[in-house]
């Protein structure tokens, strides 16, 4: 029997089953809902069969791990060779406090660092700026100058760890500081490994921690890519991020499509700069959320790898297979954590983490159960890390690569994710690209609509959230939450003022003037920013120079 004949045979049998066996069961116990849908609205069938993947061509669509189109993974041995990097996003209070938390996490078996900066640092203000009042060290660690960065990595050799930095607008300054710390430790920049998020496009419609308008923002991103390609070869200069798109309310398809389209925009920008695709593309990395719908998420990650590989090959004519690799970091979705019955979050995080592992992630952050209430306590963050270790060492899911390949359901969903993503790509191409789409508020509206729809589903109990709109309990679980001492701000401001009075201010001014000049000349700003931070110019001072020339972004409000 040919494949086609086999499929016809199955189709016939399915029709028979639907007419004979199924009605009896439905008569006795009707299905719980008239239709079942996943988060991105796909109608989920009762059962999937070979019919649903009849066009799947194994070598074309899946291939082998480590080979095009990389659906099954970017490495040939995947987690059998090396487990993913367990990288917990952390930072609060002073650099000294966060340094302690880093050391604690490394002692507990974490394998990479990830810095959460406070809002003033993220928005390019020093700790003593009026905007910083009440925010210093609260949601992340306060870093205003190289001095803080030196304390942050005190006793942590930069050639022994890799570090991820969630930083966008001031990414160049923080990377410059990291390079300078390495320099002081005797670690040359060729040996530094890590990631700067440096994905400004999604800032305009998802994370929204923006300093400069789109065009100069994109210029700074490209400067970093260009500089790293030449001088910091082990650095991932951008982490193209869907996580925030999802958290802002986008569904899985929107997360996938908008993220990859941002990726396309960065590639185009680097090509316009005169770089060759195979020089920089291998270091582009990605960052996604892992939400609650296990199979939808797995399909999303697998589709992401395949679409990116095809895009790099077909749209940008990459030759180096590494240019086609989508290496990803995943974080479990913070939005799904509930303040009600917070211990239940441990279960949610486990399911979410499992999707990322089953789909072959390179790096993972698991959220702590208390994060809907406050910053994570030491106990909560340890449990989050242990969750990863249990999945890695006890569950057995890592013993084979891409174990869900061939599942009628998962392959069908993977294909559907790809098709819907390509539809968005066409729409965005027609709009003239990501920046015009941002300026029109396209992404913003799409995300806001999905967020509102999700909330309505919860309010109307079409979507059950355990402990929130069902299975509620009056009983309070006492959770001891971490509070940042309000004295942190005072201490931080005092030490910043001390620095400003003790450093060579003549040299600082000279550097800032040079920066002004280089910015006007539209040069690559990385070298001068490195010199400026080494002279202890602060993030605020450097950003002020750029603000003067580039202006500040004014939010386009889309409700």
């Amino acid at each position: 029997m040919s494949d086609k004949e086999k499929i016809n045979e199955i189709a016939k049998e399915r029709e028979r089953w639907e007419k004979t066996t199924l009605p009896k069961w439905i008569g006795q116990s009707p299905e719980r809902k008239s239709e079942f849908r996943n988060h991105s609205g796909t109608l989920i069938k009762r059962v999937y069969t070979p019919e649903d993947i009849k066009d799947l061509d194994y070598m074309r669509d899946l291939g082998f791990p480590g080979e095009y189109p990389f659906t099954r993974g970017v490495h040939a041995t995947m987690h059998r060779g090396r487990l993913w990097t367990m990288r917990q996003f952390s930072g609060y209070g002073t650099a000294e406090q966060t340094n302690q938390r880093f050391k604690y996490l490394l002692k507990e078996g974490e394998t990479g660092l990830s810095i959460a900066f406070d809002y003033p640092s993220i928005r390019g203000y020093d700790s003593d700026h009026p905007f910083s009042k009440g925010e210093v060290g609260i949601c992340g660690v306060a870093v205003s100058s190289l001095k803080d960065m030196e304390v942050l990595f005190n006793g942590i050799p930069l050639d022994k760890v890799t570090t991820s930095m969630t930083i966008n607008g001031p990414a160049a300054m923080l990377l410059a500081m990291y390079i300078a710390v390495g320099n002081k430790q005797g670690v040359p920049m060729e040996k530094l490994g890590g990631t700067t998020q440096n994905d400004v496009l999604k800032e305009f419609f998802a994370q929204k921690l923006i300093i400069f308008p789109p065009k100069p923002s994109l210029k700074l991103v490209t400067d970093i890519v260009e500089y790293c390609t030449k001088h910091v070869p082990r650095w991932n200069p951008i982490s193209i991020s869907g996580y925030h798109i999802r958290e802002a309310g986008g569904n899985a398809v929107q997360e996938l499509a908008f993220t990859l389209y941002d990726g396309i925009t960065y590639v185009e920008s680097c090509l316009e700069r005169g770089m060759k695709v195979d020089e920089f593309a291998p270091r582009l990395s990605f960052f996604f959320a892992a939400h609650n719908d296990l199979f939808e998420e797995i399909a999303k990650f697998r589709a992401a790898r395949r679409i990116w590989a095809k895009t790099m090959k077909e749209r940008f004519h990459a030759k180096n297979p590494r240019s086609m690799w989508m290496r990803m970091h995943v974080q479990t979705a913070g939005f799904t954590l509930t303040a009600q019955q917070p211990l239940n979050n441990i279960t949610r995080v486990t399911i979410q983490a499992l999707s990322a592992v089953l789909a072959g992630t390179q790096s993972l952050h698991t959220n702590s159960f208390d994060e809907a209430l406050a910053l994570p306590s030491e106990e909560a963050v340890r449990i989050a890390l242990r969750t990863q270790q249990i999945i890695a060492h006890e569950s057995g899911v890592v013993n084979t690569i891409d174990p869900l390949a061939g599942s009628y359901y998962v392959e069908n969903l993977t294909n559907e994710m790809e098709e819907r993503t390509m539809e968005y790509f066409r729409k965005l191409d027609d709009m003239g690209g990501a920046i015009p789409a941002i300026e029109k508020g396209f992404f913003q509206k799409e995300i806001a609509d999905s967020a509102y729809e999700y909330q309505k589903e919860v309010d109307e109990k079409r979507r059950i959230l355990v402990g929130v709109n069902d299975y509620t309990t009056e009983e309070k679980q006492p959770i001891k939450v971490l509070r940042v001492d309000p004295k942190v701000e005072e201490e931080q401001v005092t030490s910043l003022h001390k620095l400003k009075s003790e450093r060579d201010n003549k040299k600082v001014n000279e550097m800032l003037e040079k920066l002004h000049y280089a910015t006007e000349k539209d040069e690559n700003l990385m070298p001068i920013i490195i010199d400026a931070v080494k002279a202890y110019a602060t993030i605020g001072e450097i950003c002020d120079v750029l603000r003067k020339i580039y202006g500040e972004y004014k939010e386009l409000i889309v409700i």
């Binding site: 958290e247 939005f335 009600q340 806001a448 909330q455």
Partner: protein, 135 residues
């Protein structure tokens, strides 16, 4: 005949955090319930928020904050409202505000704090029931 004036609401994001998912959803829900909603956008200083409230002649202010800076910023906002004579405006808040801070926030004059997981219709209902009556 007096025209029935729509309830005017200012949804404001004080502080530096950018989590606007909740603020936007609330803005939409109140609008769908027939209110006139003004949304400030992100990164508003206490001065800007109070100035907008004054300019827009609002009946209700909804403050949304998830950065943890509420203990610094809410007192500043409430004090400025007092200075400007906006004492009859209904002020409510939402976001990540630890339970133990709620009494202190209410003492400032914030009528209610809506934590994560609150149904939007609860908030709509609260506004209808507590909005000051215009004479």
């Amino acid at each position: 005949m007096q025209n029935q004036r729509k309830i005017r609401v200012l949804i404001a994001k004080p502080g530096l955090d950018s989590h606007d998912r909740g603020a936007k959803i609330i803005a939409r829900a109140l609008r769908d319930a027939g209110m006139e909603v003004i949304y400030t956008g992100l990164k508003q200083t206490p001065e800007q928020i109070v100035e907008t409230a004054l300019q827009e002649d609002v009946d209700v202010i909804g403050l949304s904050i998830l950065s943890g800076a509420h203990k610094t910023l809410f007192p500043m906002i409430m004090e400025l409202l007092k200075q400007k004579g906006l004492t009859d405006v209904l002020v409510v808040a939402g976001g990540i505000i630890p339970e133990e801070d709620v009494p202190e926030m209410k003492k400032l004059g914030i009528k209610e704090i809506f934590g994560p997981g609150t149904r939007t219709d609860k908030i709509v209902q609260f506004v209808f029931e507590n909005v000051p009556k215009r004479t």
